[in-house]
């Protein structure tokens, strides 16, 4: 047993860190550091830089543009990328539709979609949740009826992240209303977002941003060659997608980066006449977060190591521990950063004040972004299977209750 990284693993970390330092555009890094979510173009720019290096499709086989890394290398890369901080790889492309097509796609589908997904020439979104189908995904109602060489899709998706940016949507639709079990009549379709009848309506979230959408399908014609896997067997595709390697799910690099950032800016603000960084309560809070991050880091190493050893591609139920603790830490670290900002974290800066020419900032430049980051991360324990669903998974898969 050895928790230390091997010299090769440490050298790999150095290589990744060096590449990111040399190649991440300064303006993107600065926006990320100040707490802004990456702009659409930031995500595209960075993923293309990585793809040129062969580092975008991190879990794909080499023949499809993957770097040939093992799970430990992927973990190291993801952590370095997040703590840079750099925009994340678009997960819809890299960890969702890519692996799905590699597993279930036809040769034609792979050739058509994979290279473009890796290079973010196509931006994908996920059409799973519906108004009546959240955690209970199998109750989805969006209908697809086969008519000759295409399906006609009608229905509604909701909480569709970045649908307004997307070129394509991978979608769960109901193709058989008479199936004995709800899970059996579902199919997995690829829908071009430019098809007539697709309408995207924004949902503004509590952080004031437009990230989420409703997507309406009205008589949308989808060619049958865009079916992935067999008709009515889409549930197993979805299960594969949701259970696919989830070791990056803790997003620990981001939490670490936020704590580093909070400590740094805590030197600039005051508490009872002294720099906040000298305040006992603040220091204890940071110490507790660092303890929690350390525990999660090692748990993550254990899960990744077991995944690498098993080589069966099956999800480790313990990845639910990573999801639960990882998202709690994302939330707690963003809360810390917001609290450092204090009252100056409260103004809605960009919408009004930034339009006033020559108006000096109300407080530190970083402060206004701390509240929306905190607000947005309330979603972390909801998306990707709510943390309560994760506890259900642990209950059944590990505890056998």
């Amino acid at each position: 047993m050895d928790l230390r990284f091997t010299p090769e693993e440490s050298a790999f970390r150095e290589e990744v860190r060096h590449f990111i330092r040399e190649n991440l555009p300064a303006d993107i890094r600065e926006r990320m550091r100040l707490g802004y979510p990456p702009r659409k173009q930031d995500t595209i720019t960075w993923q293309r830089i990585l793809n040129r290096k062969g580092w975008a499709a991190i879990s794909w086989p080499k023949e499809w543009g993957g770097p040939g890394w093992n799970a430990i290398q992927r973990m190291i890369f993801l952590e370095e990328n997040l703590s840079a901080p750099a925009p994340e790889l678009l997960s819809f492309n890299i960890t969702m539709i890519g692996p799905v097509l590699l597993q279930f796609g036809t040769e034609e589908q792979k050739r058509r979609f994979l290279p473009r997904a890796a290079n973010l020439d196509d931006w994908w979104c996920q059409g799973f949740s519906e108004p009546g189908a959240g955690s209970d995904l199998a109750s989805l109602k969006t209908r697809a009826v086969r008519e000759g060489d295409h399906y006609v899709v009608n229905g509604q998706k909701i909480w569709t992240s970045t649908a307004h940016n997307a070129d394509w949507c991978f979608c769960l639709v109901r193709t058989d209303l008479k199936a004995a079990k709800r899970q059996e009549g579902i199919s997995f379709l690829l829908i071009d977002m430019k098809t007539p009848g697709v309408e995207v309506r924004p949902i503004i979230s509590i952080d004031g941003s437009h990230h989420l959408n409703e997507v309406f399908f009205t008589d949308v014609k989808v060619p049958v060659e865009n079916l992935v896997g067999e008709e009515n067997r889409g549930w197993s595709v979805a299960k594969f997608l949701l259970g696919n390697e989830r070791t990056g799910i803790a997003r620990l690099g981001r939490s670490k980066e936020r704590v580093r950032f909070a400590k740094q800016v805590a030197r600039e603000v005051r508490m009872n006449g002294r720099p906040l960084i000298e305040d006992r309560a603040f220091r204890t809070r940071v110490a507790q977060l660092e303890v929690d991050m350390k525990a999660l880091e090692i748990t993550q190493m254990r899960v990744v190591s077991a995944y690498e050893k098993a080589r069966d591609g099956k999800p480790d139920p313990l990845s639910s521990v990573l999801k639960i603790k990882g998202t709690e830490l994302l939330q707690n670290t963003s809360e810390l950063a917001m609290d450092v900002g204090g009252p100056q974290a409260m103004p809605v800066w960009q919408q009004e004040l930034s339009q006033l020419a020559n108006e000096p900032a109300i407080g530190p430049e970083w402060a206004p972004q701390m509240a929306p980051a905190y607000l947005m991360l309330r979603a972390a324990s909801i998306y990707g299977g709510t943390n309560e669903i994760q506890k259900n998974i642990l209950t059944k898969a590990v505890l056998g209750l």
């Binding site: 050895d2 350390k294 748990t299 190591s305 642990l394 505890l399 056998g400």
Partner: protein, 378 residues
């Protein structure tokens, strides 16, 4: 990065598990608690035969040259069965002090007896006023006739009542809270001037209050460098934290297993209580805490022999906090999910609860270590 056990480590785990499954059932343990020693001298001899007692010592001193991972595996098994024998006091605490500070002659004189099960050690460092502060030593050692005279008192000395050899810290220089000026001495447990009042702790393990008045020791009994024992004391405490972290993981495993079993069998409202989601989620949260605690116990184990003292201390403090918090969560909820039966002396879960509680208050509690980490935030 590697989480695999070696073949030898697997065999060690099997051997201790087999022995304890056979010898350490709840009722058997209860009988041991009632003996005069409060633990099993017969099993102690068996541990010696199986090589457990010499595990971390060099072969020349009758040991097996094993490391912290082996100790962790053993302690984890001890935790699962609430082992009462003085392994922590003798092999981990006393053994570490001797290994790190003992001369070849001192190690040669004492360690073979430890490995053979004939010599038990106790680490008599903390005092009544010191709580967890390692530099708060008021016991004095004054030079006289080429040796020293010890004067003072030690508090809650684990297995201090039965140890043949005490490792006593005392001031040879400096005042209260000063890092410099502390020395360690080997003191026979039955020497003139040593008065030991033995008692049981809340978990049934033994400890003692030890007073030292006009205790004469020779210069050869000085363990390590005069005035400069603090680094050794810190490492002994760190080894204790790592070992008990493993023990707490074992205890949490046992409580988790008992609780799951109970959730599956206890019927209320015509069905097993484990069908209630409120209880399922609590059990899932216990699992999360257990796994996070397990990770931290691994961290402590890997750090015991880290050469960078600051790095070692910091990580071991993190582990103590993490394991302490996990242990509290798992043990408190183990009782809660059992309901009334969990409160009874005749049911095992409360005994595990008390062991975890006692361990949390050794070597610096959660608040003490968190405070130390808060000092280091930069």
């Amino acid at each position: 990065m590697d989480f695999d056990l070696t073949e030898d480590q697997r065999l060690l785990t099997e051997s201790v598990n087999r022995l304890l499954a056979d010898q350490y059932a709840f009722e058997q343990r209860k009988a041991m608690l009632k003996t005069q020693e409060g633990w099993s001298t017969r099993l102690w001899a068996q541990y010696a035969e199986l090589g457990f007692l010499g595990l971390p010592f060099a072969e020349e001193f009758g040991g097996f040259g094993a490391g912290p991972v082996e100790v962790m595996l053993l302690m984890q098994a001890f935790g699962r069965h609430l082992v009462l024998e003085p392994y922590l006091a003798t092999v981990v605490l006393g053994g570490t002090a001797l290994r790190l500070a003992g001369s070849a002659a001192q190690q040669g004189e004492i360690l073979p007896g430890v490995a053979a099960g004939t010599t038990k050690l106790a680490f008599a460092h903390y005092e009544r006023q010191s709580r967890y502060d390692m530099t708060d030593v008021l016991t004095t050692a004054t030079p006289r006739d080429g040796g020293f005279v010890l004067e003072g008192a030690k508090s809650v000395v684990l297995h201090g009542d039965s140890a043949e050899k005490l490792i006593v810290s005392a001031r040879t220089a400096g005042g209260r809270d000063e890092a410099q000026g502390i020395s360690l001495f080997l003191v026979d447990g039955d020497v003139k001037g040593v008065v030991r009042r033995g008692y049981t702790l809340r978990d049934g393990t033994r400890a003692a209050e030890i007073s030292l008045s006009e205790v004469r020791v020779s210069r050869d009994d000085l363990l390590g460098e005069q005035d400069n024992a603090l680094p050794v004391i810190e490492r002994v405490v760190e080894a204790g934290i790592a070992a008990t972290a493993g023990e707490v993981v074992g205890a949490m495993e046992a409580m988790q297993a008992m609780t799951l079993d109970y959730l599956k069998t206890r019927q209320q409202f015509g069905r097993p209580i484990g069908e209630n989601q409120a209880l399922q989620h609590r059990a899932a949260e216990m699992l999360v805490a257990l796994e996070q605690g397990r990770s931290m116990a691994m961290l402590a184990t890997m750090m015991v022999e880290e050469q960078d003292a600051a790095e070692r201390a910091r990580n071991i403090s993190m582990a103590k906090v993490g394991v302490g918090q996990s242990g509290r969560f798992v043990s408190q909820n183990a009782i809660q999910l059992h309901g009334g039966i969990g409160m009874t002396e005749e049911y095992a879960v409360g005994h595990f609860f008390r062991r975890v509680m006692v361990i949390e208050h050794m070597f610096g509690d959660t608040a003490w270590h968190l405070d130390r980490l808060a000092d280091q935030v930069d």
